[in-house]
Each structure stands twice: as structure tokens, then as C-alpha cells.
Symmetry: C2
Subunit: 206 residues, 2 copies
Amino acid sequence: MAASRPQSDDENGKVPRTARGRQTLRKLLDAAAKEFGEKGFHEASISGITRRAGTALGSFYTYFDSKDMIFRALVQDMSRQVAQHAGKAVEGQSGAFAIERSALHAFLDFARENREIYRIIDEAEFADPASFREHYETTAARILERLKRGEASGEIREGMAEPHAWALMGMNVFLGLRYSIWSEGEDSAEIADMANDMLRRGIAKD
Amino acid sequence: MAASRPQSDDENGKVPRTARGRQTLRKLLDAAAKEFGEKGFHEASISGITRRAGTALGSFYTYFDSKDMIFRALVQDMSRQVAQHAGKAVEGQSGAFAIERSALHAFLDFARENREIYRIIDEAEFADPASFREHYETTAARILERLKRGEASGEIREGMAEPHAWALMGMNVFLGLRYSIWSEGEDSAEIADMANDMLRRGIAKD
């Protein structure tokens, strides 16, 4: 039973032992996303988070010791959500470029629906540099794995290395900033198509 | 004569009327780059800036009204410096891809020598959102102009549009973050070559 599982603590907060606990933790993280997203790290407060979550202050301290700690947990939670969302979007897809296209398209739509994600991950550069760096290093590693699989399948040319993954990640992040955060007028499918074409064959005239 | 030129104020600080004034302003901006770069916006102070600049507090208030104001002037100064540096690097170069390669190579080296630039421009997302956005919009517009010239000269295929410029800018910014800020072990010329090849012909197997 869940309740009998030993409780393990880590530096990102305590792990809930019950379904109810997991629900409370989820509420706190969602409320933290809103609080940090709207107010920024410095202005955000623990009481603001618990008010939004509709939980008692004591519940907060069951899982986190400080504002810093829930911010760190939130950055890691968002990083995981981005990864899961992209993972789901490419599930069952075949073709290295179709996969990249779907991953970007899903990311653009995800960022539109979760606009606070840029503010929170970008602010981690200052409020929690280790998580900021880990987010991008993990994402780049995942992209490089995909490029290597495409290389193995013969769709992508040989020699894919870390700089290719960082370049592709940068493309995606900046397209998200421009077309998901700063404006939503553009068709995200079209943006994904253009970027995918650029990735596939570059921009030199044939 | 410089001294008789009417003094014009704008929201980014007063414009110095003399060569000596320009020198003081330059000292203040350079000191601000160090202060904000090391301490971040919240911890940085006006007295920290004047101490680093070796100027009196009164000199600061001759040019700026507040910490916010010098930060805004600094972001715009850095944005101009990045543009000038890239402009100088591509001067006299011909060939659309040679130009992009030189611009990236120069940017990677510039970021290595001015590491505070990422921290300051990235923190502008929170401390001065309008300047942050203006920096990237201006940079993207400049890149798009270059791509359009390449299109006109027949090196770049037709249809270059804003998303191509944002994608290319994102590539460059993330390569700078990874290979100029977080690590300097890699040869910046090699990184520029790889990125340029990716831009030119994409990554699909021929």
C-alpha cells in the first residue's frame, strides 16, 4: 500500500506517501507556476502559493522548506512536463524529420497554453542556475539521441554531435518565444513546417 | 563645438555634452556591466557602480536617475555592441554564408570576452522587458535583412521570412550559451563551421 511505502526525502522536497499527498503536492506546484509566473521569483511568496493552492501553510512545509526549494522543484517539474509532452507528441511517429516536426509543433502549442514556462525557466538562470543548466543539458542530450537515431536509420547525415543538438534546441526555444509567448497570431503548424524544412535541407539555394 | 551642442535628454539617460562627459558615461556603463553581471539586478547598487567606475555619486546622477535607468541604458549599449561587433566581423566579406559564419564566430568570441552579456540581457527579461524584446526584435530584423540579401544574390533560396531569422538567432544564442559561457574548451571556429554547414544544407542525408 502507498501509505506503507517508506518516505524518501530529497533536496527537491519530500515525496508524498499517499494519493491525497500527491494531489496536494500537484496543487502546490500548479499554484507555484502561477505565482512565480505572474510575480517573478522575488515578489512571489509562500503565502501567495498556498492561497492559490487553497492549502494550509502547514501543507507547504510538509513538502518544502522554502521558496527556493519549491522553485527548484517547479523548474524540474516543468522540464519534465516539456519532455513528456514532446515524448507523447512523437509517440508512434516514424521518420527522423517527422519526429522533429511533431516535437516542435507540440512544444509551440504547449508553450501557448503554459505561457509561464518561459518566465520560470528563464528566471531559473538567476534564481536556480543549476536547474536552469540541467534543463537545457538534459533537453540537448535528448535531442542528440534523436538525431543519432536518425543517423542510424540513414535519414540524417553522419557526424551529428552536441553542437547540432544545441543549435536545434536554440531554434525551437526562440521560435517558441516569438510565436507562442510574444504572439499567437501565427499558425504553429506552419512555423513547425518552415523550421523543419530549414532543418532538413538548410537555406542554400539548390 | 561639442560643448555648445544642446543637451538632449531621453528616457535612457542624459547625453554628455563633452568628451570628458562621454568618457565618464562610458566608465559608468562599463562599471554597470561588471556590477550587474556579478551581482544581478536586485543585488546591484548605484554605489557599487560608482565605486567600480571611480566616479562620484553626483556623476551618476548627472546621467541617470535610477538603477533601473542605467540598467536600461546598459542593455541597449550591449545590444549595440553585439551589433557593431558582428558588423565589423562581416565587413568586406562577400557570400551570404561566409557572412553568417563570420557573424557567429565573432559573436562566440565576443561572448567569451564579455561573459556578463548573457546574464545582463537575459535578466532584462525581468528587469526591463521592453529592452529585452527590443534587443531580439532588432537582432532578428538585422538577420532577416542579411538573409534577404542572400536571397537576392541567389545564394539563399526564396521565401526567407521572419521565422528563419528567429531560428537562426536561436541557434546562435544557444551555441553561445553552451560554448562561450558554459565552456570555452571548444574551438569557436569549429562550432561556427558546423553551424554554418547545418544552416547551408541542413542535416538530411543527401
